[in-house]
């Protein structure tokens, strides 16, 4: 140990504020890099999971409809009306 006591270590012969500010900011910004990187990874994975869940539920939906209605649906149109008018 280069210092006689813990308080001498903190004060650092008057240079404590400079030294500790530097180390504080260093650890803060290193943590910021780690946090940003992990957040990016989570965002990519989550958005893909959501997309996959939507795709698979969409597929299940179409399949259910196909079984129930034979895949066809009656769609009302205005064609008959226009014929009767003319």
């Amino acid at each position: 140990m280069a210092f006689d006591s813990f308080s001498a270590f903190v004060v650092m012969g008057g240079h404590g504020p400079y030294v500790w500010t530097c180390y504080g900011v260093f650890f803060l910004l290193v943590a910021l890099i780690a946090w940003l990187s992990i957040r990016d990874r989570r965002q990519v994975v989550r958005s893909q999971q959501r997309e996959q869940a939507m795709v698979s539920s969409g597929q299940a939906d179409t399949a259910r409809r196909a079984r129930a209605g034979g895949g066809f649906q009656r769609i009302p149109t205005t064609q008959n009306e226009s014929i009767s008018k003319s």
């Binding site: 140990m1 404590g16 400079y18 530097c22 260093f26 910004l29 992990i38 990874r41 990519v44 999971q49």
Partner: protein
Amino acid sequence: MWQFFHKLGSPKWFYGIAGRFMPWLLGFGLLLALAGIVWGLAFAPRDYLQGNSYRIIFIHVPTAFLAQSVYMMMAVAGVITLVWKMKLADVFVRAAAPVGAILTVLALFTGAVWGKPTWGTWWIWDARLTSMLILLFLYLGIIGLAHAYSDEKTAARAVAVLAVVGVVNIPIIKYSVEWWNTLHQPATFKLTEKPTMVPEMWVPLLLAVLGTYLLFGWAALYRMQTEVLRRERRTRWVKELIAAGGGSQLKSRGA
């Protein structure tokens, strides 16, 4: 060699191999960096001239070294992008640029705080300081440019050109303390000479430098993996990886 080159073009292969290296990089990086920092802060002897303020060196020099090395790596990756159009090189540049920018901010900040008790000023337009500030602007330019194009290939080319052109700043930073002998002290470490410091000072500094390099390796691989996942999200292997519950391999921080 060519087979290796070909494999590097495969994102899936890269994803797996990166995952195998990352735990080692993180573990040894943390070990070396923390050992160097604790040793430097509490056990290294006091500097006879500067007193205890010199203890800032144990983070100032690693971040400043790394900020320049990362830029040089990005320039090499830029050449690879332009000549061989290898996508992973562009993935590296995108992954590394924000880390390099933060490292440059750290080098500038710790330098300013160290300058106050040592030179009596936070900032001066000294050649070393000014060229480091330019390095920060280059990093910010690359980050901005990478987001300025919606087309991936155009963006990759533009970013690569800026990374390659900007590398001219690196020798200016390196030799600034010799060409313009102003306020910043000359290099602490040189590859060709023995250090002028006592071993009790330069050994912890070396540990801190090596540790931060390894930690950068971890961060770069982790961020590259994320970018690969994003770009390859339509492929079967990424879909399977994510369908497997976003499993431990995805969430793991490399450990």
